[in-house]
Symmetry: C2
DNA sequence: CTGACTGCAAACGTTTTGCACGGTA
DNA sequence: TACCGTGCAAAACGTTTGCAGTCAG
């Protein structure tokens, strides 16, 4: 069990029970949208309000502890900031999988060709997963 | 000047003046969000309502004439369906540029490694453009 | 002529805000 | 203790819907 209290403080956020429940759920699910997060946190913290979820997600994003992933035809999902990675998302079942792909040579050639400094890559492949055909 | 009437009919949409103004603006801008589109179309068609913009954007997306591009920290932009491409977006000035990159080898290895059939790639690189440093 | 489209206003779902209270550091 | 966070309710936003009138084909 990770020490989420320490993590929150490292990101300049007070370690309230609500925040601990939120960050624990996000980490356990890998990616989670607002509604599922709300349901999940309510299981362990029935008094929490949706406004608190929103406020905390937003402050965690501002403080770079979480990031938002925009996905086609779905609500955004939130995940902890870890190593850079891309996403595979199944159009039928909605499952999202993290994948490691090497985009560094592509990014390098873009920097050159377009004289553009890249500091973030959002890469989402949609299609059908193994189960869903 | 393209014949947008013909294009609309090819996509099974009646060629109303409102639609012609919408598709012409989207095509001229390359990518445009709802608010800018509304302002733009109003210039030539002052009586148009925002609801009409929404209804038409949605039907054009359903009929595969337009597609939605979700971008970080901004509203989605809409563009005509053309060849597959990726996007470069400047965090300072918000400019969006189409770029051609070859993702086919990446997609191929993903198909193999994850046994996943890809039918859409959403690739957005964020950073700073030439002007904005 | 008929079904589809428009514009308005109302409804809806989602996210943010203001404020009084409570809890962390 | 001081400030930040919480929860509630209300407000603000963005988008969709219903409907009566209009128009494209």
């Amino acid at each position: 069990m990770k020490n989420y209290t320490t993590i929150l403080r490292e990101y300049n956020l007070k370690a309230t029970p609500q925040r601990l429940a939120i960050i624990e759920s996000v980490d356990r699910f890998g990616h989670i949208n607002i509604d599922n997060l709300y349901e999940e946190v309510k299981n362990k913290f029935s008094s929490i309000s949706l406004a608190t979820i929103y406020k905390n997600i937003n402050s965690m994003i501002s403080n770079m502890l979480l990031l938002e992933v925009k996905v086609p035809n779905q609500k955004s999902v939130y995940e902890m900031v870890k190593e850079q990675h891309s996403h595979l998302i199944c159009d039928s079942c909605g499952a999202i999988v993290d994948i490691k792909i090497n985009t560094s040579n592509i990014e390098e050639s873009i920097s050159k060709d377009y004289n553009f400094i890249i500091n973030k890559s959002d890469v989402v492949f949609s299609g059908n997963c193994e189960k869903c055909r």
